[in-house]
């Protein structure tokens, strides 16, 4: 099979470019400009609608992402689960609900940013790019979930092998070539977001404070000789 030129670029070259940019620029920014790594929360300036935007958006998106990761890492388990129709419907419905939740949250966040004068002061052009990309990506995802159903199965069967082939540095485009346009757009959008990530506020995703879960409550830093002995509270 001889995939068309745009496909070769979008699914065999662009993913590598995007991921490389993501990795290199994230690290560079982390070490060269550590001050710029922040969630840039705006809860302080507007505390009422914030909840109805940020919470559904994050929980919705995290659940949907977890679904994608499950299909990527344990496709067999997923296909096995889906072998019973009732379980397939349940999974698909759950995924769609969380996508909707994310979409509603994002819409609220966008409206809030437009209508609150204080928020416009802290909104950069890049923020709008991110919001637009996310809105497009999540809408596409929700559309696919609704009109190209049983994605949890065909993702695991067709896209997981493609993603793994990318990872093994021998991209196999036969899997994506036959995909509908919406799915192709969704894949490209995902890599575009990854490539843009280090230039946006999305870097807060890379510094999720998981170590807090097992850290001791108090933190003491020694500037003097005590530090050499490795003593800390």
């Amino acid at each position: 099979m001889n995939p068309a030129y745009p496909d070769t670029f979008l699914f065999a070259i662009f993913p590598y470019v995007a991921l490389a940019v993501c990795a290199i620029e994230s690290l560079r920014r982390y070490y060269a400009q550590p001050f710029t790594y922040s969630s840039l929360s705006s809860q302080f300036l507007e505390n009422q609608y914030h909840f109805w935007g940020i919470v559904p958006f994050h929980f919705g998106l995290m659940a949907v992402l977890a679904g994608h990761l499950a299909a990527f890492f344990v496709p067999r388990t997923l296909l096995l689960w889906n072998s019973v129709p009732a379980r397939l419907y349940l999974l698909e419905a759950t995924g769609f609900i969380f996508a909707l939740l994310a979409l509603i949250g994002l819409t609220n966040l966008i409206v809030r940013r437009i209508t609150e004068p204080a928020l416009r002061v802290v909104t950069t052009p890049m923020d709008w790019v991110v919001l637009a990309l996310l809105a497009g990506q999540i809408s596409l995802g929700a559309y696919i979930a609704l009109f190209r159903p049983w994605g949890s199965s065909w993702f695991a069967a067709s896209l997981t092998p493609y993603l793994w082939s990318l990872l093994k540095l021998s991209p196999d485009l036969s899997y994506v070539a036959t995909m509908p346009l919406t799915v192709k757009l969704h894949i490209t959008g995902a890599f575009a977001l990854a490539g843009l990530l280090p230039f946006t506020r999305l870097v807060h995703l890379l510094v999720m404070p998981l170590p807090y879960l097992w850290r001791r409550p108090q933190v003491v830093r020694w500037t003097g000789p005590r530090r050499i002995q490795g003593a800390s509270l």
């Binding site: 929360s41 914030h50 802290v122 404070p209 500037t223 000789p225």
Partner: protein, 496 residues
């Protein structure tokens, strides 16, 4: 015994005149940048009053500090599990409105306004949006009891005062108020540090100053609700939190922090306290009424040979020990026991102590002549204008005993000096007051001297920071040669 050294503070409320010079000194040095206009690392509140941010002492809504639940000490604001979900939206985080919207005035309009029938005005302009704004509140909106029925009446500390006591506090000609200057308490068990998901907030091992690492902060904002004193602030412009740094660049070079240095009433004292870090968790978990005593027990005697030996084992420099022996804070807190921690029931073990105010002399005016009614010239502590129950809420975790002890001693010192200087008071009465206050004439003299005649060097005994022994001095200075280039210092600019 794990001896640590802590730079600690005493504010003598009887001397505070509420001039706000401290606040201005701090603001001009540290918080005149974009995004920090609303922050007052040092602020002066009128008590009774709601304070800044409004009703900060109401931990039912702000959920600051610690609580003991099922025998375990835990943050009131969140559990470890909630820490991840609260990253998105903190239910108890104060927003800008809880502080106030900072503003300036459109002064240019006074010069540029076109000719017209009306006098041009300088309208207020928001320092957040840059638009014209209506001023609804300020950092000190209820100064000197301004708007008392609206503001002071909402003081959370009134909860255990009965109606009569409240009415008494607001009766005309019996009004009582005092000033309550506040900075970060640089606590031993700071809630902000324990809540920080990124580990940006930390306590300096050498001097106990609590700092917020700006490059590690990710703007998760957990510190803001977790601090019961609301002394960590979110910079909405940079997306990082900030707090009082106790002017560590000044302290390290032997200068008093700006708010201390500029204090007109000379109410502020600064010095080293040694404490036993092993007792920390146990102390913070005790019942409310035992907290003050236990907190005081954590503080160690710098003259005790066992403490000196343990301090040496912990690498505390002899010069720091010398400072600890001269520390005015040690005298007020541990020896005289007249300086008390604010709201110790929040269990962060604050290291800023307050000498509670003896409220105005109890007297009444009749036909233009001020009459003294009490036998001892000044009022009795229990009949003070500001009810003891109110002060007990602020400085005694709701229990009056420790506050009464401090006030009685302060009063005894006054009587003692009155008998000595003016002589219109019976010596025997003064001695009786001293005895009742658990105070000797010698101690009274010492308190008087450090309260009234203190010089700059008496008030600020700043320990040497020994930066020459800091880690960067132990590294080979050649190590980074030709490796780090000239270096480019990046300004604190917000990320994309």
């Amino acid at each position: 015994m794990d001896v640590r050294s802590q730079i600690s503070m005493v504010f003598h409320l009887d001397k505070c005149i509420g001039c706000h010079t401290c606040s201005i000194a701090c603001k001009n040095i540290w918080t005149d940048r974009g995004g920090t206009e609303y922050m007052w690392w040092n602020n002066v509140e009128t008590k009774p009053g709601t304070g800044y941010p409004t009703r900060w002492e109401d931990q039912e809504s702000y959920r600051g500090g610690w609580e003991v639940k099922d025998g375990e000490l835990r943050l009131k604001s969140m559990s470890k599990a909630r820490s991840l979900t609260d990253l998105f939206h903190h239910p108890s985080q104060p927003a800008l409105d809880e502080y106030y919207e900072p503003w300036t005035y459109d002064y240019q309009n006074l010069f540029n306004a076109p000719e017209g029938d009306d006098q041009p005005t300088a309208r207020p302009v928001s320092m957040v949006t840059g638009r014209h704004t209506e001023i609804k509140a300020g950092p000190n909106w209820d100064d000197d009891l301004g708007g008392s029925p609206v503001y002071a009446a909402n003081d959370p500390n009134f909860s255990n005062l009965n109606d009569e006591q409240r009415a008494q506090l607001f009766a005309v000609e019996r009004l009582a108020m005092f000033y309550f200057p506040r900075i970060c308490n640089h606590c031993l068990n700071p809630g902000c540090v324990a809540a920080c998901p990124s580990g940006a907030l930390h306590k300096r091992g050498e001097d106990g100053i609590v700092l917020l690492d700006q490059t590690r902060c990710r703007g998760w904002r957990a510190c803001v609700p977790a601090c019961p004193y609301k002394k960590t602030f979110y910079n909405w412009k940079t997306g990082k939190s900030e707090k009082c740094i106790l002017c560590f660049p000044r302290v390290e070079t032997g200068q008093a922090p700006a708010c201390f240095h500029s204090c007109v009433g000379r109410i502020r004292y600064l010095g080293v306290l040694l404490y036993d870090a092993d007792k920390l968790e146990l102390t913070a978990s005790l019942p409310d009424e035992e907290l003050i005593e236990a907190h005081r027990d954590m503080i160690l005697d710098p003259n005790d040979p066992a403490v000196i030996a343990a301090a040496r084992r912990n690498g505390i420099h002899d010069s720091v020990m010398e400072s600890a022996r001269k520390s005015p804070v040690y005298q007020f807190v541990k020896v005289w026991k007249i300086a008390l921690p604010p709201h110790i029931e929040y269990r962060t073990l604050p290291m800023l102590f307050y000498v509670p105010p003896l409220s105005p002399v109890l007297s009444s005016k009749s036909e233009g002549v001020i009459k003294n009614e009490t036998e001892t010239l000044f009022h009795e502590v229990d009949n003070a204008r500001a009810p003891l129950a109110y002060l007990a809420r602020l400085f005694g975790a709701g229990h009056a005993a420790k506050v009464r002890y401090a006030l009685k001693k302060e009063l005894a010192v006054r009587l003692h000096r009155r008998a000595l200087e003016v002589g219109d008071l019976d010596r025997a009465a003064a001695d009786r007051a001293l005895l009742e206050a658990d105070c000797t004439a010698q101690e009274a003299e010492a308190i008087y001297k450090l309260t009234a005649l203190c010089t700059f060097d008496d008030r600020f005994v700043i320990p040497p920071s020994h930066r020459e022994m800091a880690i960067e001095m132990l590294e080979d200075p050649q190590e980074r040669k030709q490796a780090a280039g000239f270096g480019f210092l990046a300004g604190p600019r917000r990320g994309a």
